[in-house]
Amino acid sequence: MWIYQKKLEFPVRISNPDLTVAKALMAQYGGPDSELSAGMRYLTQRFTAPDDRIRATLNDIGTEEIAHWEMIGTMILQSMENAPLQELERAGLIGHYAMHGRAVYPSDPNGVPFTASYIQSTGDPIADIAEDMAAEQKARATYEHVMDLTDNEQYLAPLRFLREREIVHFQRFSECWNILKEIYPEPARGRGR
């Protein structure tokens, strides 16, 4: 089970909103390489992970991703909650407003809703961990693209933190990859029989 802690992993306070950044951040709330994708991916793959260390890594990084998802949701909420309609319109958020008002919703910046097809759970630990390593790098790239859009420290401070977490998670999954190479020195063919 999980225990909720009534705090963010890293503080977020957006008093000077930038709706263009908020829209871009939806990539990390409901896009293919979002924190939601990451959390669901790792917490699902862990059930069939073959090694205690890999199970622990997937469980604990998956748990941290949900805390990151909460930070992104908070940034989007605090950006939009008092935004005038004209500003939403200028940032291209009228489609979002029509369907969701100023609520937070797991879609990407183009309004494409989150889907489980963004994640895989193949039952093949090599395929799963390779996906996880790629996912961390894609999320890092997305954070860098969003950070390119602003000089606003209220966004940049939490985004720097989140970007660095992607790098650390990639490092941990690389170690899982090396553990798998020790466990399976031979190609995977036929292992499921």
């Binding site: 225990i3 909720y4 802690q5 503080p11 622990a56 941290e64 909460e70 605090q78 650390v168 553990i179």
Partner: protein
Amino acid sequence: MDRCELMNRISEVEFVCVELNLYLDTHPGDTAARNDYYSYSTLLRELITQYEAEYGPLMGFGNSPTNVGCWVCSDWPWEKN
């Protein structure tokens, strides 16, 4: 420490614990890291106990034994104040 400073200190120490926890997931035999994790976990527990005694529960489901404050009336972390 005021409330904000104490919360920041909790976040700092908890972050050290998160990092060490993830490191230990792939290096469970690293004795130095295990000792660090034990020290920081102990410090984190002390800070959270101090916070909850003054300002109320941080965690639900029976994990914050305090009579101060209340779970539903403190701010949620996405609220600005």
